[in-house]
Amino acid sequence: MKMVVVAAAVSHDEDVKSYVTQAAFRKASRKMTLCFDAMKKAVSSLADIFTPERLAAAGLILNSGFGEIEATGGFLKGLAENGVARPIFFQNSLHNSTTGFLAIQYGIQGPVFTVNHRTRGGDEVLDISETLLADSLCEFCFAVTVETVPPEFSGPTGVDREGAAVLALCSEATAAKYGLKVLITPDDVLKESAHHPRIELPLTGLKSLFRYDLITRLADRLT
């Protein structure tokens, strides 16, 4: 099975300013909103293909390096300062919260995974997507990477690029079946993966590594 990319999108803070006044996003974190917007762009680019039925059967794999660290911090800080444990902060604090939000918003009922790795997250997401597609557990799979850092982290090291990137994936055979243009081929992915930027380990700094993620780099080619 050869996995190909048929849609891609990237979202940054400036793309999601209007969401803050919308009811559906009143409890959404920054990561959730960025991912929603990037998904919206990817889904809209193939609106005829991504019907509610196809979305229901799709897979979704999401990576974030820090996860919902902002909500975690909010929850723990409130607990430490006031002894108050805030339910909405907790509901939003798990790494999985971002993924659960997206699945609900897009009605995705297929296989949904959350992965977490600061330097290889995108690679893992693509590998899991390929595994699921190869087993025909879904016809389409959305690969997502997202990173934001708490405002308190903008210290001496500065704030590097934050955002969300999405790739819509399927097999070469599925792309042919629906007459979809292949935007990125398996060879493209291999080449991009081989050009992995060197990230210093142990992981130092509190910076977003979004720009280095494989999904971001692939999506950037197309957006």
Binding site: L76, R118, L203
Partner: protein
């Protein structure tokens, strides 16, 4: 495809839990109906760092103890570089960084001090540290899909083997107790201060616990030691309903079970025992119970067990911890009692196992349901030679 071709064999098990260290102790205490829950929590009793890991914390400790037990049983001292390793966890090494993080947010600590410990915040960092101690396997993944993470990890490891990506995969789940999860679940009013009572009409909620469960999976043609069980199939679905509450009718759970049994080329009638997620929460047990009853409608209803009365809910580790019990049940041909049950909830029409007892077991269906509406189901089967 027959079970004998390209099978995914379980060849090693390892456990650290609030019931003690090691698989035999774990099984024995669950079989006897003992609970490791104290004041609503299942804490692991471990006297100091066992492995010189003062800087890596309890999650690393638990993982290494369980991983070594599993690898040893499989006849391995370490993994090969072309093997796979999948780790599941929700909070990873949170015991190392959470306090410093809060101090930093309250402006009582510097960014420099935070950075020293914050390198452990990424769950992938724990994966890499463990990997470096067990042979540096090159194919790895970190799954953090909350309560279904470890079951998903087992499903993924199975797929890797069946697709020929690896011949062997160590799959582990690990979780430590933390203020985040304990106070968080408390804020959602999901906890009970007594041992959980899954499927009981008076159930009051969940007991959070900690621990690690590790399994060695191998392709049937590379197994050195005995195959303990086969992973015959899996089902992976999502409710897309609510962030922390299950679908009321357990629709996603139903579909996951259907996928798992179908992918095993079995019918519901062939399932000997269901090991449920059964957290003891009002909503989970109701929706899961309804889903199980509906799945077996028209078939013989097998006994259903939740063992969370005994060992609590270890979140990211629960799938593998409970998978260990499933594999042992196959090996020992024994169904475990569903602890904490006095008066079954009349809204849950299941045959809940009232005692641990010998039973002819060929196939076990294992469920997990997680936050975010993530459902995962597995079928564990007798090794092929026993079946033929």
């Amino acid at each position: 495809m027959s079970l004998a071709t390209r099978s995914v064999c379980v060849t090693g098990l390892g456990v650290v839990s609030c019931l003690g260290i090691g698989v035999n102790r774990f099984w024995d205490r669950v079989e006897r109906g003992e609970s490791g829950i104290v004041e609503g929590l299942g804490a692991v009793q471990l006297d100091g760092p066992q492995l010189g890991s003062e800087t890596e914390g309890r999650a690393f400790e638990f993982s290494m103890l369980a991983a070594k037990e599993a690898l040893t049983q499989a006849g391995l001292s370490r993994l090969d570089p072309d093997d796979g390793f999948i780790l599941a966890t929700t909070t990873g090494q949170i015991d190392i960084w959470a306090t410093e993080f809060v101090e930093f947010l309250r402006q009582k600590s510097s960014q420099e001090d935070l950075e020293v410990v914050f390198r452990h915040q990424s769950l992938g960092a724990l994966l890499d540290t463990i990997a470096s101690h067990i042979g540096q396997p090159s194919k790895t993944a970190l799954i953090s899909s909350a309560c279904s993470a470890a079951t998903q990890a087992l499903a993924l490891g199975s797929m890797w083997i069946r697709q020929g990506k690896v011949k062997r995969c160590l799959v582990g789940g690990v979780e430590v107790l933390s203020s985040l999860t304990v106070e968080g679940f408390k804020s959602l009013q999901l906890l009970s201060s007594e041992p959980a009572r899954p499927f009981d009409s008076s159930r009051k909620g969940i007991n959070l616990s900690e621990g690690a469960g590790f399994l060695v999976l191998e392709a049937s043609d590379v197994v050195k030691q005995k195959s303990l069980a086969i992973i015959s199939g899996s089902g992976l679905t999502t409710d897309a309903f609510h962030m922390t509450g299950p679908h009321p009718e357990g629709e996603g759970c139903f579909q996951a079970m259907a996928q798992a049994v179908r992918s095993s080329h079995l019918s519901p009638n062939e399932i000997s025992w269901v090991h449920a997620h059964g957290t003891g929460s009002d909503l989970n047990d109701l929706s899961e119970g309804r889903a199980i009853a509906r799945f077996f409608d028209g078939a013989t209803l097998p006994p259903v067990t939740s063992t969370k009365y005994n060992h609590g809910h270890a979140l990211g580790a629960s799938g593998t911890l409970e998978a260990v019990l499933c594999v042992e049940a196959l090996r020992r041909q024994t169904v475990l009692k569903s602890g904490g049950l006095e008066h079954q909830d009349p809204r849950i029409p299941l045959v809940v196992a009232r005692e641990s007892a010998p039973r002819a077991i060929r196939h076990i269906l294992k469920n997990t349901l997680g936050f975010g509406g993530i459902n995962a189901a597995l079928v564990f089967s007798q090794p092929a030679e026993a079946l033929s």
